[in-house]
Symmetry: C2
């Protein structure tokens, strides 16, 4: 029999209400789905805004840099009278141009191997549905992008997390640790490179280890590479599609959301040389008919943006990263690892509980009428307790605002009633 | 053991190939997914175009009427510099305006009960995930919109079809027939009103029967109402949200694709007064972050289109319907029932096999250099044989083209080698 505590957790009010008034019950699978950890603080943020508090949003990876002029030109000059469905795999001209851009980067693919999706989110969902059966297992390093769990739950797929540690800068575990997670149901490895939330970039030797394991155990290697251009190291980010012998194993997820500040466009790509993956993912694409047309046309334009566009974007984010890291490292009790890429930092704070702290920042704190919104790291781990003292910071604001946000965080850490002085990582 | 015939059907080439070269296999669930019946003739159409044949596309519900001026004004004057994620349930101003439009039609809902989705497709997928567990059963009249099957398969939900017959004008079966399909796993009834592919509109008495059954057996009543404005009768289309006492049972799916010729915009709505449905559907919405922003802004504009916009659209389609019905009924051996709404006709032809006929139209036939593309009805039935002699015709072309398409069909039926002269419905 379930204990009272369990009951409380697993049965929300609306479900208990069912016992009194006859009404159809929502599905158990949806009740088990987690609410987005990135968005669950929204009601407290809305309340803070109502009180007149200014909030610096470092809680969501929402870049604020101008999108390429070519995007706006394209959406304003479509010459269309109405909006048609496109091919379920996207417009042919867009698929061709995307494939050509990949070839420019040394990723050899054809247009037929690129499917336009309604953002990277959908590409990942299609990859899971096409590659994995309900009950199949996918190994992935944690902390991981919280929505991987949502997509896995929707698809009935089991997540087998492999812990990485802040003390090691969230480095990829040795292949032997992946091997220890293998079971007869293991069907895929999922990586995010550069990584959200950690900013880690995997080096060629690490990727080669995964390549060998995928070949040896006949696993899909699914790689989310949406932050490819956000690379602050001197070496290029290697795509899994550049690894030898993985034509049938490699499935890449991509998106224009981050690199062109087009999160709201919802245009991404599923890229694989495995014909059966493409054919079967297409069936899911056909069921939802087509990705949005206006935004496909805009991205067709944006892909003509000169190299200088992205060089400027990267330099802007590099400066923000440098500012963030130096401010954080100057705060007593704060642990901030090296950040190679993307635009996130997973940071350990001298606090008792990151959910409580992030909520307190919005509910009970302000610094000269301002506060900062962060993501509690608990949502990025399969076991929330691993993220109890960590937060994810998205450095997506320009330097002035970022500085003011850090002023808020510094002041908050001095007055937060749940401050603890020695953290696990600080000790080591 | 499987028979050879079964093997051939269930194992595509790419799967058999796996036996020779080690490669990870795609999921069995994706192999079982049907390819879209509406789109599977595309390669033959492309080949016909290469030969120089003009094709009249009556195979897909892709309206060709101009979208409202207000849509284009809105997308061309966003004043935005970059595209942000919106709230996962869509922009608040859009939800408020949509709710106000529903109230204008006599459907009492609040903005918080409207979720903006990436088209009606996603709204339906969210409805299934939020309401139904894997293995749950949903009863729906057949023939049905083919993608219902795809969404049900993705969600692991069982479709329990209830046959409707061309001889009865595809009328909704009596409630007793629904009752006969009930099992302990029945969790929902799904209707499409006005209906694709049949054009049927359900009258208040029929809907009341379903209402009583939903209340009595505590079932969700999910209604796809995307063709609401395409109504050629003198009575309004009743929404399930207007039925008494169904606040907790009624889940409505809507879309702007058809009514504003915005199929490519991918904006739809999930509407329910059941708070648990809304809260749990929101989790799936959060996983995919947000619907497309530019198109949300465009629809915000389109909703200001004057009533005269849609009056013109409806009159245009009414004229097309009248033309189509009179042309079809003048062809020997063709059965075309009354069409009340939407812009489809399910028609019985004097042919041996509709898949063969539709392919033959593209591969081996032309009438003065022109041909017509139709949808074989086999894809709209759970048992393809029920649609063997039927095709779905989408009357989405202007009258001149529609006339020429009918000339093609008439000529084709005279020369098609698989013509049969007496059909079941013609006999009755």
């Amino acid at each position: 029999m379930a204990r009272a505590g369990d009951m409380r957790q697993s049965r929300p009010f609306s479900d208990r209400y069912c016992m009194l008034v006859p009404m159809p019950k929502v599905s158990e699978r949806s009740l088990k789905m987690p609410a987005s950890p990135i968005r669950r603080l929204m009601p407290f943020a809305e309340e803070a805004v109502r009180r007149g508090t200014v909030i610096y949003h470092l809680n969501i990876g929402q870049p604020d840099v101008e999108s390429p002029r070519e995007f706006w030109d394209a959406v304003q000059n479509t010459g269309l009278r109405y909006l048609e469905y496109t091919h379920s795999a996207g417009r042919t001209d867009l698929r061709e141009k995307v494939a050509a851009r990949y070839r420019d980067m040394g990723i050899e693919v054809e247009a037929s191997q690129v499917m336009v999706c309604t953002a990277g989110s959908e590409a990942l969902a299609f990859a899971m549905m096409a590659c994995l059966n309900p009950g199949d297992e996918v190994i992935l390093p944690e902390p991981f992008y919280a929505n991987y769990l949502s997509f896995a739950m929707s698809a009935g797929v089991e997540i087998m997390p492999l812990e990485t540690r802040i003390e090691d800068g969230f480095a990829l575990p040795a292949v032997s640790e992946f091997r220890a997670k293998l079971t007869p149901r293991t069907k895929a490895i999922l990586i995010n490179n550069p990584g959200n939330p950690t900013g880690t970039i995997y080096d060629p030797a690490q990727l080669d280890g995964l390549r060998q394991l995928a070949l040896e155990r006949n696993l899909f290697l699914i790689s989310d590479e949406v932050y490819r251009e956000f690379n602050y190291t001197s070496s290029p980010v290697l795509s899994i599609l550049q690894l030898e012998g993985l034509d049938e194993h490699a499935v890449m997820v991509d998106s224009v959301s981050k690199r062109f500040s087009l999160c709201g466009a919802r245009i991404g790509f599923l890229v694989s040389r495995n014909k059966a993956v493409n054919e079967n993912a297409l069936k899911y694409a056909q069921a939802r008919l087509a990705p949005p047309l206006l935004e496909q046309l805009g991205v067709l334009g944006a892909l003509d943006a000169p190299k200088s566009y992205f060089d400027q974007v990267r330099e802007e984010y590099r400066t923000r990263r440098d500012l963030l890291v130096s401010r954080l490292r100057a705060m007593s009790g704060v642990v901030c690892p090296l950040i190679d890429g993307a635009f996130y930092a997973m940071v350990e704070l001298p606090i008792d509980d990151s959910d409580r702290f992030c909520r307190w920042l919005l509910e009970s704190f302000d610094h000269r009428g301002e506060t900062v919104m962060l993501s509690p790291a608990t949502g990025f781990y399969s076991r929330p307790e691993l993220g109890l003292r960590q937060v994810r910071i998205a450095y997506v604001l320009e330097k002035d605002k970022l500085n003011r946000a850090m002023d808020c965080l510094e002041a908050a850490l001095q007055t937060y009633p749940g401050r603890v002085n020695v953290t696990a990582a600080a000790k080591s």
